[in-house]
Amino acid sequence: MAEFTGYRRENGRIGIRNHVAIVPTSVTASPIADQIAADAGRPARATPHQMGTSQPEAAREQTERTLVGTGRNPNVGAALIVELGIEDVDAEALADRIARSGKPVETLSIRDAGGTRAAVDAGVAAATDLVAGVRDARQESADVSELVLAVECGGSDATSGIAANPAVGVACDRLVEAGGTVCFSETPEFIGAEHILAERCVRNETRERLLKRVETRENAAKLMNVDMRGAQPTPGNQKGGLTTIEEKSLGAISKGGTTPVRGIVDYAEDLPVGDGLVVMDTPGYDIESVTGKVAGGAQIAVFTTGRGSTTGNPIAPVLKVTGNPKIWDKMADNMDVNASTVIEGEPISAVGVRTYETLRDVADGELTAAEQHHLEEYAINELQPNELVDLRGTV
């Protein structure tokens, strides 16, 4: 089945959830946004973060782009932007940018509301109204080609590269074949096999940008006196069977499937719809990485884990796939797809098909384990001072 029922938004995009996003402009407004969402009830989802009220321009732009992208995500039916009132990141400006996608967006200033408790009360009232409003969101049948799938791996172990990742890769190939977009990221994980990935880029420009981004991330680590290439695979990885960085990296890359790489985008930059396999340049840090892809417009995420990651995202459902039979058993409540059957002989392609079908079911409304447990993490990648220094010399 190539269809699911989703929420058709004003700008023509299809969402697979119908949230009211409570978006704080800064770290100061974040705990209040959290409180508003907690008190307003489940369709309200907060996206708290630690970005400062005073960031250097490039870092602030990245924060804003991520917050705007999060609000614009098709899974969001309406948004409430919460600010203290004096931050550099202005609630009205964010609201305007989000509202261009056609959805209702309100703003709330803690200062104007008269303080913390008053702001929580006003926020809950506003959120409740927005929740009532999104109930009328238009639901209709949509094709899987309208899906943008974020792919992530975290808490990897020996099973990741031989079971979970290749299986998810099969699912990705299927979605690309059906006309959808697949986005994988975690640039540091390409180190060791970046030349192989680069060969799969359809355009020279993409190839060059990819290699440049890998180099930049490697250099960022060098500034911290860490040799990423030399430190991989880690002693733990080696004990688990990984011999070289190439092997580890290829195992990670396999989760994106085998189709050509059609483009590379910046952290939280808009992802194209219906455009095949795309790379987003993000750190390997899972929470920031998933946040970036969801801000780019991914409505759904699949996350492979050997050791048992339990994380989710407030805006997009995150499907957990594990190739580790012990984790499938022990952490059944936090996992969605069992890829450890590969070890018992189930063909990877069959597991891939199962994963694809589960993705479609989740798009259609089935809750992931993380959603059932209300497990959500959100973090915005912040460009650090030494990264900014390096950026000045690069494109």
Partner: protein, 108 residues
Amino acid sequence: MNGRVIDEVAIMMSETDNVATVIDDLTEGRGLTVGDLVAVDNETITLAEDVPFGHKIALTHIAAGEPVYKYGEVIGEASSRIEPGEWVHTHNCESRRGRGDIRTEDGG
């Protein structure tokens, strides 16, 4: 990537690979039927030593300096001659540091 499971105990990630990853703890002497999967003298290979879950075994002879293939790509090169059925890991397989054909002096 369509992995091929060999005798239920090892998985070959791509047809052109010369190693397989074991998916069970295997003991020395264990035989594997590889048939026409790879170019070997016999249809079976025998484990030369114990190899634990997640680790690799050679499916063919690999001469010193020759590439080790997994996922259809070069993951490193043999630092000494490897026989079919031998454990392949950091003691006999070294990284090319992921820089294509640039070799490192210290062996990765």
